[in-house]
Amino acid sequence: MSHSAPVRPAAGGAIGAIAALLEHRTGQQIAASRAWRLETSLKPLLRGLGFASLDDLVAALAMSTDGRLAEQVVDLLLNQETSFFRDTLVLEMVADAIAARRAATPGRRLRIWSSGCSTGQEPLSLAMLLEERGLGPNAVDLVATDVSGAAITRARAGRFSQFEIQRGLSVLRMMRWFESDDFDWVARSELLRRVQFRRQNLVSDPAPPGQFDLVLCRNVLLYFPSDVRRAVFERLAGALRDDGLLVLGAGETVIGQTGRFAPTPAWRGLYTRTPAAR
């Protein structure tokens, strides 16, 4: 889980200042090799505000008092790439693990937290899978969070473009769970209702209340510096039950990152809290 050196504030006036803003607000660092993207991502905002350059934006950020401009900037810079059924096999395993747990403790309502859920495809995919296994709202609670207010607003609306709906989602599931509206596809309320979306910053906000059976934190930690990553693992561990499971992205691992979690033999690729951490 390492990436090329991050942009440092000293790296260059405006770009450095904006990278620092992003890191301060979300913990996310921008790899120096991707710094050029920053200007591309912000171009529409610059144009909309009539700014000629990033320097103008940085000046406006310095003068702004309500933080709204900073929030817009951060939203544009966060990598929110996601899709339905991203890594299908992992999500299937998550559903299997939850089904097994439900069978072992039938009376208990299980709880799942999708952290860094972006525009909602991850928790909605899980909700579909769980329904298909007969695990409805009485069996499992789903909470999904993201630092980006814009992403959470979109997730709550459950509205997806034709491109988004076709990425990873089978036509049968699309027909079962979505309705078409012009060129968009909108999640049916029975699906959308399954997920409680809220805004939460993994770095600076407490975890959603209560204890979870399973937490997903997929493709979020990648651009955190290692100390922030360690602190986030700590927070995730604190949100899990003693026997809770952690799910990371396909290219991510806890190994060498934290002592709080270890791979679980029962579910390949999933992690449990280590005994020492309890």
Partner: protein
């Protein structure tokens, strides 16, 4: 190497689809309408067919029905690929035996994910 038959009356769409499919390691064959596609399938069944809806001579729907009734032994997977994006069309295609459905315009990710869903990529 898996074979994909691209059935579309637009040469441009066939070219775009071919390009994407070749990067996904498919051997690509082309047909300009349903009739040509049927002949092509009779000669050698592909693994998967990317099928347009509105075409001269024989439409995608007519082709699909003929294919499902034919005695071609190894039935290829059929992925509709069309500008028809209403639920009624989609439902009709699935009822007629299509395995997947792509609404145009499509990109590489869309095509790749749909081919994965039908189990050929």
């Amino acid at each position: 190497m898996k074979t994909c038959l691209v059935v579309d009356d637009s040469k441009v769409i066939r070219k775009v689809a071919r390009h994407i499919l070749e990067t996904l390691d498919f051997e690509v064959r082309e047909a300009g309408d349903g009739r040509e596609a049927l002949d092509s399938c009779m000669a050698a069944a592909p693994d998967v067919i990317l099928l347009d809806w509105n075409m001269p001579v024989m439409s995608g729907m007519e082709f699909l029905r003929a294919l499902r009734e034919s005695d071609i032994a190894a039935k290829p997977k059929v992925v509709f690929c069309t500008t028809e994006n209403g639920m009624a069309y989609i439902r009709a295609a699935i009822e007629a035996g299509a395995d997947e459905y792509v609404m145009k315009p499509f990109d590489r990710e869309t095509l790749e994910s749909k081919l994965q869903i039908v189990g050929v990529a």
